[in-house]
């Protein structure tokens, strides 16, 4: 009997210890998600300005650029998968990976070979556990991506895109799979095609009736495009990474909240059971004493 109470108490202790950890992680994620959202907001002016510039160039020249033109024959497609470094975020990493599997299957159906580029230890773990090959990995800063990282990855992607596919193992298309931050409760895995670029006329099209002015290009259109497009790639990539970071933290906050709630439930349940066991023990002791006393009385 006493053993049972001890076991219940032990469970209560261990569940409360876990609860403290999940609670702390929930609070930390909650604090960081605000920062991550702010980082998304702070990167918007740059993204908007660069989109506007790219649109302006696209409007005024019919310049075909190597980064914007579709290749005739697409045989290899890069798939950039943005996941987290750590788990404990519910279905966050697995939903992105699932989406990437769908994309890879689709590419394969179209006769393209998918070349994975992985961000985050979760994706790397997923691939190395299955002993699948991947082209590159970047890990260690999924929660708080820095622009340098986006630039490094963007550089690599542009380089691979410009390489000859057959001779040097380059790629003909670049897709990104990431988790779009819709709100604190909704994050959707999403696929975008990064290269060849589809120039999206800024989210807010030429507002207040002002058309693009007739720009002069310094030094000339080709060089402006040459410099502008890789930066545009970096900017879109950075945006995807920031949204993924915000999604990861929001997902973690939710997962940790439900873990904390669950732990509370368990503590409540085990407390009840422990009380019951204690009561049962007391009752039994009393009946033993009473039984013993009456047996003594009878024997007299």
């Amino acid at each position: 009997m006493g053993a049972q109470i001890r076991e219940y108490r032990q469970r209560i202790r261990s569940v409360s210890a876990t609860k403290k950890i999940t609670r702390a992680m929930e609070l930390m994620a909650a604090a960081r998600v605000v920062k991550a959202q702010q980082a998304v907001r702070e990167s918007t002016p740059y993204a908007r300005a660069i989109t506007r510039a790219v649109s302006a160039v696209a409007t005024f020249s019919n310049e075909e650029h190597v980064l914007t033109s579709e290749k005739d024959k697409v045989t290899r497609a890069a798939v950039v998968i943005i996941t987290s470094d750590r788990g404990l975020a519910g279905a966050y990493a697995s939903s992105v990976l699932k989406e990437s599997e769908k994309l890879i299957a689709r590419l394969r159906d179209e006769g393209k070979e998918a070349v994975p580029y992985l961000l985050g230890r979760k994706a790397v773990g997923y691939y190395s556990f299955r002993q699948r090959e991947f082209a590159a990995e970047w890990t260690g800063d999924s929660e708080k991506p820095a622009f340098e990282r986006a630039r490094e990855i963007g550089q690599r992607l542009v380089d691979d895109f410009l390489m000859d596919t057959e001779a040097e193992g380059g790629v003909d298309e670049v897709h990104i799979v990431y988790s779009r931050f819709v709100s604190m409760v909704t994050q959707e895995p999403e696929v975008i095609r990064l290269l060849p670029l589809e120039i999206v006329e800024g989210t807010e099209a030429p507002a207040e009736g002002d058309l693009f002015p007739l720009y002069e290009f310094e030094p000339n259109v080709e060089e402006v495009l040459d410099a502008l497009l890789p930066k545009y790639v970096n900017s879109r990539l950075f945006n995807a990474m920031l949204q993924a970071a915000a999604s990861e933290l929001a997902a973690r906050q939710r997962a940790m909240k439900s873990a904390t709630d669950n732990a509370e439930e368990l503590v409540k349940k085990y407390t009840r059971l422990a009380n019951q066991a204690r009561q049962a023990e007391i009752t039994q002791e009393i009946s033993e004493i009473v039984g013993g006393a009456s047996a003594l009385a009878e024997s007299k």
Partner: protein, 89 residues
């Protein structure tokens, strides 16, 4: 004389915004000076210093290369990384 509306934007934040009477930056072809009424231009900037002449003197910032666009006296300077230590407030 009208003033320039200047925006200096780095990839991860807006660095500075304000009015200025003249902005100069280094483009591929050399120093580029912008004053109010400048014709619309989109230029590639190389690594170097940006000078913003405004009220209260000249502000400077160092960028690692980027872009400059001017239209309707609105100057936007885009750079992936900006060292804003000389920018003051």
């Amino acid at each position: 004389m009208s003033q320039l509306q200047v925006e200096l934007v780095a990839a991860d934040r807006k660095v500075w915004e304000g009015e200025a009477s003249q902005v100069s930056a280094r483009s591929i072809d050399g120093e580029l000076g912008i004053m109010p009424g400048h014709t619309p231009i989109l230029g590639v900037l190389v690594q170097g210093e940006i000078k913003i002449h405004g009220e209260g003197g000249v502000r400077t910032a160092t960028i690692d290369g980027g872009f400059l666009s001017v239209d309707h006296d609105r100057v936007t300077i885009l750079a992936e990384a900006v060292d804003a230590s000389g920018l003051g407030n």
